[in-house]
Amino acid sequence: MAGREHTSKHYEHQLRLLKDKLLLMSHQAEQMISDAMRALTERRPSLADEVISRDDTLDHLEVEIDTLCYEILALEQPVASDLRFIATALKIVRDIERIGDTAVNIAERARELIQEPELKKLISLPVMGQSAERILKNSLDAFVNSDADLAEKVIQEDDDIDAMYEQIFRELLTYMIEDTRNISRALKLIFIAKHLERVGDHSANIAEMVVFMVKGQDIRHGTRSDRG
């Protein structure tokens, strides 16, 4: 959406409503990831359960946002920046919903891990969690503020998260090799690291769409061609 308001108040209202719903949904997804990681590090099963229960709200919002997008497409026939905004909404809503699912997966693994003694003091994983939360937040801020520069930064930072995953994977592998009784817990921690790595990927997807939304350029898959 460009800065100036539409002459049609109704259209303007519909676009704002869509943006508000996306804001609400992305805020909830961020919170779910952050709480799922806290449930793990602070060993709080009730918080893990709460994260799992919040997924329904996110799913509902996804459907509401999809419906609203189709209505705007059919009734207002958006073009230019409005069209790119709707296209972006339709795509990132999937990523945000998947991030919610990821939070649920982390919470489920956390709940299982809490019931067993700690394999080791968690150091790298919370750091990775914070990085994932940060790039998720940045990707959503980039969307809210139509900030293509921040979005490009997110895309670069995703590589750091991939590197962290590799490192954690190798570290936990050594635990498994040392003692087979570690395998179950180490695997669960690896799963969590993998989920966080996916949060990074979804954030990068969101960031790529933000660049498209702002500049009208498709930068996915290394293609920097004009969408025209």
């Binding site: 460009a2 100036r4 308001e5 539409h6 002459t7 049609s8 259209y11 026939q77 958006p78 073009v79 230019a80 920046s81 409005d82 069209l83 790119r84 500049k215 009208g216 350029q217 004009d226 969408r227 025209g228």
Partner: protein
């Protein structure tokens, strides 16, 4: 885009007396393309369209500066035969204006007065071919001698297109050709435009931006007599460069 330029407009200013309606317009209209001109009322798009076959010549005090070239030839030069120019560059208006004569005679009129045809049999061939090109033949073939006024609005507009095609033009200028038609007739006109661009260069003025988006290959946005942006239609409607274009097509007026 390999299509070559059919009409070149260079440094063109246009005046109605003291009022300047076009400011330094420069553009190339491509052959066998549909070029749409959009912009608010009074932006100069119709003036620009009419400048392409010198329809503005008839307005007292109207004056053009710059050059408009058809296949490289200056259409405002003294050596240009205006009648010949308007045969090559035909025009379709907002309100269909069939002659008060039969369907057949409406189409046959142009070839006849232009002396293109001598024998009746040749004329029959041209009338049929032209009505087919205008996607009207099947609807009128059994009543060619009936008055053109008996046709529906959409049919009348296609008849006017047929009439324009009968003199074998190279360029068709259309000024809001579907604005007075229902959605079905509009769809038929738009489909016809799509078919015609294989053979003809088409320039269309429309207030209906969705129509511009649907039918055209390139779009020019006029504002206050200036051509603000001219680009591929899909570029204009997905990612225009100028914020004036953006504001206009997304409905941020004022």
């Amino acid at each position: 885009m390999e299509q070559q330029i059919k009409i070149t407009v260079r440094g063109t200013n246009f005046f109605y007396g003291a009022n300047q309606a076009l400011h330094d317009v420069n553009v190339g209209i491509r052959q066998c393309f549909v070029t749409a001109l959009i912009g608010p009322s009074g932006c100069g798009k119709s003036t620009f369209l009419r400048a392409l076959n010198r329809m503005n010549d008839l307005i007292p005090g109207a004056r053009l500066e710059g050059r408009v070239e058809l296949d490289g030839q200056d259409i405002y030069s003294n050596s240009m035969d205006v009648i010949q120019l308007r045969r090559r560059v035909g025009m379709i208006f907002q309100k269909s204006n069939p002659f008060p004569m039969s369907i057949y005679e409406n189409v046959a009129y142009g070839p006849r007065v232009n002396g293109l045809i001598k024998r009746r049999a040749d004329l029959d061939v041209i009338v049929e071919k032209t009505l087919r090109s205008a996607a009207l033949w099947d609807e009128v073939k059994d009543r060619l001698s009936k008055s053109a006024m008996s046709l529906s609005g959409g049919q009348q507009q296609r008849l006017c297109i047929a009439r324009a095609l009968a003199v074998e033009p190279e360029v068709l200028l259309m000024d809001e050709p579907a604005s007075a038609l229902d959605p079905i007739s509009t769809a038929k006109i738009e489909e016809l435009i799509y078919q015609l661009k294989r053979t003809y260069t088409i320039v269309i003025v429309t207030h209906n931006m969705q129509q511009a988006a649907r039918v055209s290959d390139e779009t020019g946005f006029f504002l206050n007599g200036r051509l603000v942006e001219f680009a591929e239609t899909k570029k204009i409607f997905t990612a225009p460069v100028k914020h004036e274009t953006e504001d206009y097509i997304t409905g941020r007026f004022g």
